[in-house]
């Protein structure tokens, strides 16, 4: 019975792998539900503050914050949000591909890039790429807190305020549904109205209580923080969904592999029994 033992051990090892992937799938599924809830909870605030900021960009404010004025791009800051752990399908790879494309476009225009990474995967990737990583946070866990994003946002916001970078982009995975996540590159600052001076009749400004500068800066900072936070929780939901799907297909693949091997094993066993029988019959006939 040649190879039967090897096949048996192979089946055993695949079965234990399947057990692991199944467990991971289940864990990811339950974590995904919680992550989705957190994502949904964070969405209204981020969306509303986006609205307010877009109103602000249409206003003719008496204080022109640097966050509202377009500058010539010499250096951009990227905040890349990735996962800490792997085994989540092509999630990070797709994100990095999209990032690289954008970076190449900037490079050809002679624009330099500073990167701030969130999550170990992005850090490893950009270090290997010899990218200019200026800040890094990782191990934020499955339930990132609002305070966690303050550090990286501050590094970038300071660089922007001091004129070291001329724009800040945020790169993260957008949660479309469980089956699909989309890499997204979004510009945080400067915030500018898409339609410029289309309606000159709308020259209006806010009434500020008390001080325009303070209020606008506060609003912009809140905006940055809440949008980055929302991206972070969204990315966690993406990670869990993507891992769940990847682990499910891994379990399924393991299942088909086991079936195939089982078939080969059974055939080998049958063949050896037939051969034995033939030998016995042959031996009896000779006597």
């Amino acid at each position: 019975m040649a190879g039967a033992k090897e096949i048996r051990t192979k089946i055993k090892s695949i079965k234990s792998t399947q057990k692991i992937t199944k467990a991971m799938e289940m864990v990811a599924a339950s974590k995904m539900r919680k992550a989705q809830e957190r994502m949904r909870a964070a969405r209204p605030y981020a969306n509303k503050i986006r609205n307010v900021i877009s109103h602000l960009s249409h206003a003719y404010t008496e204080y022109r914050s640097p966050g509202l004025v377009e500058r010539e791009l010499k250096r951009v800051g990227l905040i890349v949000i990735s996962t800490d752990r792997g085994l989540c399908g092509g999630l990070n790879t797709n994100l990095f591909k999209a990032t690289i494309n954008a970076m190449q476009q900037w490079r050809t225009q002679g624009i330099e890039i500073d990167v701030c990474t969130v999550g170990t995967k992005a850090f490893q990737f950009f270090r290997r790429l010899k990218g200019n990583v200026v800040a890094h946070v990782s191990h934020l866990g499955d339930a990132p807190r609002f305070e966690d994003v303050l550090g990286p946002v501050k590094v970038m916001a300071d660089a922007f305020a001091e004129g070291r970078v001329d724009a800040i982009y945020l790169v993260y995975n957008e949660f479309v549904n469980t089956m699909s996540q989309k890499p997204k590159i979004e510009r945080l600052v400067p915030v500018t109205a898409e339609v410029k001076d289309a309606a000159p009749a709308h020259h209006w400004d806010y009434i500020y209580e008390p001080d325009p500068k303070e209020l606008i800066e506060l609003l912009l900072r809140r905006y940055g923080e809440s949008v980055v936070y929302q991206a972070l929780v969204e990315n966690v939901a993406c990670e869990m969904a993507s891992r769940m799907v990847a682990m499910k297909s891994a379990s399924d693949n393991a299942g088909t592999l086991i079936d195939e091997l089982q078939l080969i094993y059974n055939k080998a066993r049958q063949a050896s029994i037939t051969q034995e029988l033939a030998e016995i019959v042959g031996g009896a006939a000779a006597v």
Partner: protein, 142 residues
Amino acid sequence: MAMTLHVDIVSAEKELFSGAAEMVTAPGEMGELGILPRHSQLLTRLKPGQVRVKLQGGEEQLFYVSGGMLEVQPSMVTILSDTAERAKDLDEAAAQSAKQRAEQVIADHRSEFEYAQAKAELAEAIAQLQTIERMRKLRKSG
């Protein structure tokens, strides 16, 4: 039909209110603000206190905010609060004990930082208690 404005109240954790209203009253940093439809654009910071939303038909809803920002556009009001609660979800006992704790710290004259923090906490607790108080009155009269 009376003119209305669209009101959104969101906190970092959830959306509390979204809908049409006749009037909104909010605790601005420089004083209480009453906002009616067609108000001029306005931007202000909020201090801890109560937000009252008068719905169409005169019904009033009460919220507590711990601070945040308020944006007014002629036809809409957005309140971005740090934390907010519906008045009926407020816990009077918790607010009362928070108030006492804060008063204790202030009375003890501890470090500058603690003093400032305790003061902020005290303001929040008092605002919560006032909101609860007002909700009680509304219930009695209504």
